[in-house]
């Protein structure tokens, strides 16, 4: 069994499968009696990669193994095959997906707490149908809310081997940095508060909202942390990042 044969079988298997194959699956292509070692298979993959240097193809390792894909440089040309294929996802969907990916396992209420708005059921349904997320369990709270996590398909689709390869989250700056700046010019604050009539009305309205409907509003928002009480924040878990 020579190197060229190994390379050819790997290429044939990957293209015929039309998906990522693990090293074990690649080894299994050779049958039980003549199976080359994983070093030989790795060498075959390296050979393929080298052959593809001048072509439109490349090897990509993701969560499910290795696949052959058309390079990004050729996306414009290849996309012309599917002029109708939608390529954009809404910001709401992407934010929900990002929260699930970075904070998994996470409940809908916890997603809502961070985003400040209710999660549109269409979004989670779309993500479930695309097989990017799945229900990984339930939080032992009243109603046993579903805990959502991402799938292997999600990783494959976004070209990742694991969630650890996601771009790092932006740093949270410590709240202690606020302190030096707390000394706002009192005059300015008072002035703007006392300022225009229209604004005073707004504040009054807001105050009315606060006193009358505050309790109801909280229920609507679901698991949203209580704004005025810092300890309630713990539920939304940024504290773990600090």
């Amino acid at each position: 069994m020579n190197e060229q044969y190994i390379r050819n079988v790997i290429e044939a298997g990957l293209l015929a499968a039309g998906r990522s194959l693990t090293l074990e699956e690649l080894a299994a292509l050779f049958g039980e009696t003549e199976c080359p070692g994983s070093a030989a298979i790795r060498a075959g993959l390296a050979q393929l990669e080298q052959d593809y240097a001048a072509r439109a193809l490349e090897l990509k390792e993701t969560a499910s193994g290795v696949r052959i894909q058309v390079r990004r440089d050729f996306a414009t040309e290849v996309s012309r095959l599917w002029p109708e294929r939608p390529r954009r996802y809404s910001r709401a969907l992407l934010e929900t997906l990002a929260l699930i990916a970075y904070r998994q396992p996470i409940t809908r209420a916890e997603i809502e707490a961070v985003r400040g708005v209710a999660v549109n059921p269409d979004i989670t349904r779309t993500l479930l149908e695309r097989n990017w997320i799945r229900v990984v369990g339930h939080r032992e709270l009243p109603g046993r809310p579903e805990l959502l996590g991402t799938t292997r398909e999600f990783l494959d689709y976004f070209g990742l081997r694991s969630v650890a390869e996601l771009p790092p989250l932006a740093e949270l700056r410590g709240l202690e940095e606020i302190d030096p700046q707390l000394a706002l010019p009192v005059g300015a604050t008072a002035e703007s508060a006392a300022g225009e009539d229209g604004e005073a009305v707004s504040v009054a309205e807001a105050a009315a909202l606060l006193s009358d409907d505050g309790a109801d509003a909280d229920d609507d928002v679901g698991g949203e942390p209580q704004l005025s009480s810092a300890p309630g924040l713990v539920a939304s878990s940024p504290s773990s990042e600090d």
């Binding site: 052959i68 996306a75 985003r115 949270l172 508060a193 504040v203 909202l209 928002v221 704004l227």
Partner: protein
């Protein structure tokens, strides 16, 4: 992090309509940011209603709107001029109400929160409790920061090299691929159950006499027949294997008798006391009926 929808609104204004809810405020400094007095209202507060609708729909909620208001003025999230931001926020809320846009409850909750923070900011704070906990804005700042980092994460995820948009799974067909045949597995129990069922259906159990039927005889019948398949005469004695012992010999003998009864073999003896020869029944003997159909010992009364 750009907001394309916003750009459309701001950079492409249809005939500007000055909304009654947005009276122009000029000259008077209404906020001091990082020590600088701010005297001008941002011009893009004045938005034609139809554009405003698009504009407002571009927000993912009150936190997103607040972040926009803060970022638009290059303010630091950690240092929100709460009075000014509250005022601007309330103006948007009023615009939405004037336009009778369906206003998510979360926007009103945020309005209340801002109003509360603002009023607490006005209260004198005891110097002894000068730690960060006491800042009324702290909780809001945390939420804004937390939301903003996931807003950015969403954008980062969107930038990832994605299948079907940036790269494409390559595949090629293999036509007429041979089917690797895997033979079905059968357990003895499955076969026995099948036989039990067919026996039940055919009421074999009703025959007391078959219940003790020695299976070895049936098998030996097959073997004897197979040995005679050539059609030649075979020495009767050679059908027996003495090494099988008495039991084996008896089984063979019964099998031969049964084959004879069924008309499947002939036994020939050329003269008295000469060796017996056996062969499979020749085709000429067509008078054999299917055995058992009409046998006298039919246990119909059993």
């Amino acid at each position: 992090m750009s907001k394309p929808d916003l750009k459309v609104v701001v950079s492409n204004p249809p005939p500007p309509v000055v909304l009654p809810a947005a009276p122009e405020q000029a000259e008077m400094p209404f906020a001091i940011v990082n020590g600088e007095p701010v005297t001008h209202m941002p011009r893009d507060l004045y938005i034609p209603p139809q554009a405003l609708e698009v504009f407002l729909e571009a927000f993912e909620g009150p936190l997103d709107l607040l972040l926009y208001l803060i970022r638009r003025q290059n303010l630091d999230v950690l240092d929100i001029p709460i009075a000014e931001i509250t005022r601007q926020y309330m103006r948007y809320i009023e615009l939405m109400q004037d336009l009778q846009l369906e206003l998510a409850g979360e926007y009103l909750v945020m309005a209340a929160t801002l109003a509360e923070i603002k009023s607490r900011m006005l209260l004198p704070r005891p110097a002894s409790e000068g730690d960060g906990e006491a800042d009324p804005r702290a909780e809001l700042v945390r939420r804004l920061q937390e939301y903003e980092r996931f807003k950015r994460a969403a954008s980062d995820v969107d930038q990832l090299v994605r299948l079907e948009r940036d790269v494409f799974q390559a595949s090629a067909e293999l036509r007429d691929r041979p089917v690797a045949r895997v033979l079905p597995q059968v357990t003895l129990r499955e076969m026995l159950l099948a036989f039990r069922d067919v026996a039940t259906r055919s009421q074999m159990f009703a025959h007391h006499h078959v219940q003790r039927e020695p299976l070895s005889v049936r098998e030996r019948m097959s073997n004897v027949l197979a040995a005679l398949e050539s059609g030649e005469f075979v020495d009767f004695v050679r059908l027996f294997a003495p090494e099988e012992g008495r039991m084996g010999v008896t089984v063979t003998f019964v099998a031969i008798l049964e084959l004879l009864r069924e008309g499947l073999i002939d036994i020939v003896q050329t003269e008295a006391l000469a060796p017996l020869h056996v062969r499979r029944a020749p085709p000429v003997r067509t008078l054999q009926l299917v055995p058992g159909m009409d046998s006298p010992e039919t246990p119909g009364t059993a």
